[in-house]
Every structure is written in C-alpha cells, then in structure tokens.
C-alpha cells in the first residue's frame, strides 16, 4: 500500500434492508485519497454519495469490502478503536440548522467534541481553545453565548466547521457544506475551507451535487450514479475530457452564467431509477443514448481508459472515438 494514501477503499458496499428489498446505496466502490488532496464526489440525489461519506467518517457500518485509514484496517473497528478514529477523521454536515443542538450555545457546541475526547483540563483551557477555534473559522467572540437560531446559515456552518476541527483531525468529510447557503456566503465558506486545508494540511472528501463548486475545490473527482462509480479522474481532466455519457450529460445540464457560450446541448431524458434490487446491467443504461445489448445484462468494469482516468462504460472508447 502507498504510504501517502490517507484513505483507501476496496469494493466498498453498503446495503440497507427495506420492506421492498435490498437498497444498494453504495455498490462496490474502490478508490484512494492521497494526503493533502481533495476528492470531490458528485452525483444526483440518491446516488449514495452521502452514504459513502458517512461510511468514510465511521458513521455507517460497512456491509462488505474493506476500508483503510492511514494504512490501518478500519472496515468495522471495535468501539474503542472507533473513538480514537474520530479524533483523526471528522465530518461537516449539510444542513447547519438541523445538525446543531438548538439548546446549546456556540461555545458549548464547539467544546462538545473536545469534551467527549477529554482534550482539555479545566474551564480556562476549554475557553481558550473554543476562542481559538472561533477565531480560526471567523466567528466573532461576541457570538460565544448565542444560540444557533440567532445566527444566519453562514455562521451556523462556521460552527459546524469549528466542531469538525475541534479534535485536530487529518481527514474531513464535507457533506454538501455549502448547498444550503446563498452564493455570496457560499464563496466565503469555500474560501475558508480552502484556507484551512492549506494551513492545516487537511485531506477532504467533498460531497456535492454542484459541479461548479466541485471543480473549484477538488484535485480529483469521482462521479457516482446509483451507488456505482461512473468516472474518476483529476478535476482538470474530467472537465476537459469527460468520457462517460453520464458525466457528459451532467456537465451539459449545468446552466452557465454567460450569454456567450454556445455549447452543444444534450439533455438527459428520464429520471434516476430505484436503487432497490437494481438490475444486473449498467445502472445508467435506461437513460443512456448509447446503451446497447451488453449494457442491460452485464455491469461494466471500471477501466483505466486514459492514464489515471477511470471510466465504467462498455463503450467508453467507441463513444469517444478512440
């Protein structure tokens, strides 16, 4: 195993039991995240990106496959190991209004993770550390005794970030941290996350449905559809040379804020199918304009079509004229 891979996933699966059958939320994902980089995970709602993030943060058990963190097998760790892992891997949640306890004030909220991990001795140390964290995430000291409902979405998300940083983790899963925010505030939070990554040498897994955001922040991007990997490449490569028909459709669906773009439009028909008891073929086949016989019967392997550019499509080469 490479030393500089902080996270490594092999054939990672997460199934949920439902009354209608087995829900394949994440189905056989393999990837690595190098230290000090950002892996962006994109896909539409229900594609399993949040489930993947929660598994990596240790909030969901793994159904099958294996997961390594800093070279250590963390697939299904013991209770004790789990707790010490939370010091090294953390999560920033999507909705800052529902992920914060409404009855705790800002200073209590930020101190809570340190309290659980017993990271301070005495009130003075605790307050100093809370103050330091508030300063890092750009929350003015006067908010220390405010409650979440008194603050706007941007400030609440800053509390979420401070909580994630409280234990000095190495790796943070950011689950749609800016999608609930307005653009001008979103830009402030994105800049903050980028600064923190740089200053503290953090590694992020950045989950979002917004391709403009993911392009801006990520080094590598993983495109998911119904629990499966569709394409995985560096950010630059993926946007310059998308190979998978799904990625192409996704890119073309994003409205560009300029009146001078003459893009070829390619609107995908249909909707995301159900992840419960999925068919054996390619998950995207029912919406794909290139789908042919093998797509409906055989699930495509992830292949390295170009150097460090992976794509799971039976016709990856044909579709791209290679």
């Amino acid at each position: 195993m490479h030393n500089n891979h902080i996270v490594e996933a092999k054939e990672l699966c997460k199934y949920f039991k439902t009354p209608h059958g087995q829900l394949h939320a994440v189905d056989g994902l393999s990837f690595q995240i190098a230290e000090h980089t950002v892996l962006g995970v994109v896909g539409e709602s229900g594609c399993g990106k949040s489930t993947l993030g929660r598994m990596l943060a240790g909030l969901h058990e793994v159904t099958s496959g294996s997961l390594y963190f800093e070279g250590q097998d963390v697939t299904n760790p013991s209770r004790k190991a789990k707790k010490s892992l939370y010091r090294r891997r953390q999560m920033i949640f999507q909705d800052p209004s529902s992920s914060l306890d409404p009855r705790q004030c800002v200073s209590d909220l930020i101190a809570e993770p340190m309290n659980v991990m017993k990271l301070y001795k005495g009130r003075r140390e605790r307050d100093a550390r809370v103050e330091e964290l508030m300063d890092i995430v750009g929350l003015a000291k006067r908010y220390a005794f405010s409650y979440p409902h008194e603050l706007d979405g941007g400030r609440r998300q800053r509390i979420g970030i401070a909580r994630a940083l409280a234990c000095d983790p190495k790796f943070i899963v950011c689950d749609e941290p800016v999608s609930a925010l307005d653009v001008s505030i979103q830009a402030q939070i994105l800049n903050l996350l980028q600064d923190l990554q740089y200053e503290k040498g953090l590694t992020y897994m950045f989950i979002t449905h917004d391709l403009s955001v993911v392009k801006h922040i990520s080094d590598e991007i993983l495109v998911m559809y119904l629990g499966c990997e569709m394409e995985h490449a560096t950010s630059i490569e993926l946007f310059e040379k998308p190979l998978h028909p799904y990625t192409k459709g996704l890119l073309s669906a994003i409205p560009i804020p300029s009146i001078h773009t003459n893009r070829e439009e390619f609107i995908m028909s249909g909707e995301v199918a159900s992840p419960i008891n999925p068919n054996s073929g390619c998950r995207f086949a029912s919406r794909c304009i290139f789908a042919d016989e093998p797509c409906y019967s055989e699930s495509p392997e992830v292949i390295e079509v170009l150097p460090r550019h992976f794509c799971a499509c039976h016709f990856a080469r044909e579709v791209n004229g290679m």
Binding site: E44, S45, D152, G154, D182, V183, S184, I185, Q186, A187, Q188, L190, N191, Q194, H209, L211, S212, V213, K215, H216, I217, F239, G249, L250, L251, S252, A253, I254, P255, I256, P257, S258, I259, T261, I267, M268, S269, E271, V272
Partner: protein, 325 residues
C-alpha cells in the same frame, strides 16, 4: 405603453411584535407580452414577496403600503376581491418553489388540476377532465397516472404537476418562484426546457425568480437584480452580463465558482445581507460595498439610466453623469 404588467413604487411591509420588516422598498418593474423577466437576488431580498404582492397573496401580517401594480392598465391593488379571484390562477398564475408542499397530499393530481379549470372556465366535468389530461400530457405525465396521489411521483414529476396547474387556464403571466431549486441538475434542465417551450407555445409572459444567473442567461430577456427589497440594477441580458454596473451585481458574479472560467480564489461579497428590520441608512448595500463613498451612508441613490433601458441604483453612476438630485 404596451406593457402587460407595470409595477410602480411598490412597498410591502410586515408588522411583527419586534417591529416592521421592510421586505419590498419601492420597486419599479415592467414586463411586456411574451417577455421573460429574471428576478435575481439572495434569500431575503424580497423576490417572493414581490411575486405574492402581484397576486395579492401577501400573508396577513404583511401590508402593501404604497405603489401600484397595473395589469392590462388596471390597478390590481384597487380591484375588488371578486375580481382578483378571477385573475388569480387564470390570467396570472404562480409556480411555487417547493413541489413537495405546493400539492395537497390527500387529493389526486387530476382533482388538483381540474379544480383550477372548473373554477375559471365554464365547462362540463367531462370537458374539464379532457383539458386536464391534455395539459398533464404537455408536461409529460401519461393519462394512466393522472389519478394517482402526489406521493407516488418523484420530485421532478411533482414539479411538472405544479407547472400543469399553473398553465391549466392559459395564463397571460406566469410567476415562477425558483421552479427548479429543489431539483437535480439533469431534471432541472428538463423542466426549464419544458417551461420555455410551453411559454413560447402559449405566448405567456413570465417573471422567473431565481438565484442562479446561469438559468437567467438561458431563459430571460431582461433581468432585475434585487437587494434588500430594492431593485439595484435592471437591464437587458447584455446589460447585466456584459455591462455589469452595480457593485452588488459584480460581487455576485465574482462569488460564483464557474465551469467556464478558471478561478483560483473566489471573491465573496464581504459581510451579510442586512436585517430587513434594521436596514442601513443611505444605500442599502453600502456596509458591504468596496466602493463606498461619504454620500452612500446618508443618501439612498436614485435609479440612473446608464444606457438606454439599463437602470443602476448607485452613487458611482449618479455622480459620474452629474445629475444628482
């Protein structure tokens, strides 16, 4: 003027226990037949309140304090309650933001579409049903599904039902309040294309409320940028995208990460949207403005026409032209 709708100096306030919320503060807007106007702004800018004002649906705590909204040269604000009921949902209709809450969960979608048709058109039940099937067909819902309940549809499909309800009586003006915000991008693309096609087919005018300048670039003819209850910039697509003049509009463009332009670091607008209960004196944007001058803190700028039809509410532009008043 041949404008279908003309709003003049509209002021809407909400009175609460803690004081009044100044949601809409003297806006002027006009929209011609068949045109699409984009109303852009962040949360709390007063976009939805403006749309509700046009339909006289502002909630009870709110009050339309001043101004006029003339639709086909009749002031909506002076109409009798009976007349407004005949216009609402018939001549002017609204597509609501969240399809999950806009539909009644215990009524089939066919009943919800027919309700509008039967209220506004003199027709038999059979005719209303035929019309319902026709309009739901236009938004891509097959006849065999019309008697199902909202929970049996996906989010994108529910939004199609909401659109069908809005279009059921061939309205002259459509108020679309963030019609695709709750949807995934690929579904958003489908729904936006459908709205634009139907709009063309019926010759409907539309006010499209959104915070996404990408959608505006694709679907609108003119754009109004709203900030703290005021329209700070108004103009054609070219005016707003190529001759951006107001510091707030410029800030919006600089805050967005983009697919078509490489940006190392975003340039967010400093600070936050002001509390609509305590709006700053002078220009509402001055506490966040990088070009703030002395006068901005005391005087609210008047709209200045920097180009034909391109209005900007900013002292930078009033002083340049030397016509301060």
């Amino acid at each position: 003027m041949s404008d279908l709708l003309e709003i003049k100096d509209l002021v809407i306030r909400f009175d609460t226990e803690d004081g009044s919320v100044h949601a809409v503060n003297g806006i002027d807007l006009h929209i011609g037949s068949g045109e699409t106007l984009g109303l852009v702004g962040e949360t709390g800018a007063g976009k939805t309140t403006t749309a509700l004002g046009i339909l006289r649906l502002v909630p009870d705590s709110g009050k339309i304090c001043a101004g006029s909204i003339s639709y086909k040269n009749v002031d909506i604000l002076k109409m009798s309650d009976k007349n407004i009921l005949d216009i609402r949902g018939n001549e002017i209709s609204m597509i609501f933001q969240d399809p999950m809450t806009a539909l009644n969960p215990v009524m089939t979608i066919s009943a919800q579409v027919m309700e509008v048709i039967e209220r506004h058109q003199a027709c038999t039940r059979g005719e209303a049903r035929a019309r319902m099937i026709e309009i739901l067909g236009k938004v891509g819902i097959r006849p065999e599904r019309v008697d199902e309940y909202p929970h049996q549809f996906s989010g994108g499909m529910k939004q199609r039902v909401v659109i069908a309800i809005a279009l059921a009586c061939n309205p002259k003006l459509l108020l679309a309040d963030e019609p695709t915000t709750a949807l995934d991008v690929t579904i958003q693309a489908q729904v936006m294309r459908m709205i634009n096609d139907l709009k063309k087919e019926f010759g409907t005018s539309m006010i499209l409320i959104t915070h996404d300048l990408g959608i505006v670039a694709k679907s609108c003819d003119s754009v109004a940028i709203m900030y703290a209850g005021e329209i700070v910039e108004f103009g054609s697509l070219e005016d707003i995208f190529d001759r951006t003049s107001h510091p707030y509009t410029k800030g919006l463009f600089a805050s967005m990460p983009r697919l078509d332009v490489e940006t190392e670091r975003l340039m967010p607008i400093a600070g936050l949207m002001p509390d609509p209960m305590e709006l700053p004196l002078g220009c509402k944007f001055h506490p966040r403005c990088p070009h703030r001058m002395e006068i901005c803190t005391t005087d609210n700028p008047q709209g200045t026409e920097v180009n034909y039809g391109h209005l900007v509410k900013c002292h930078l532009h009033t002083t340049k032209n030397g016509d301060m008043d």
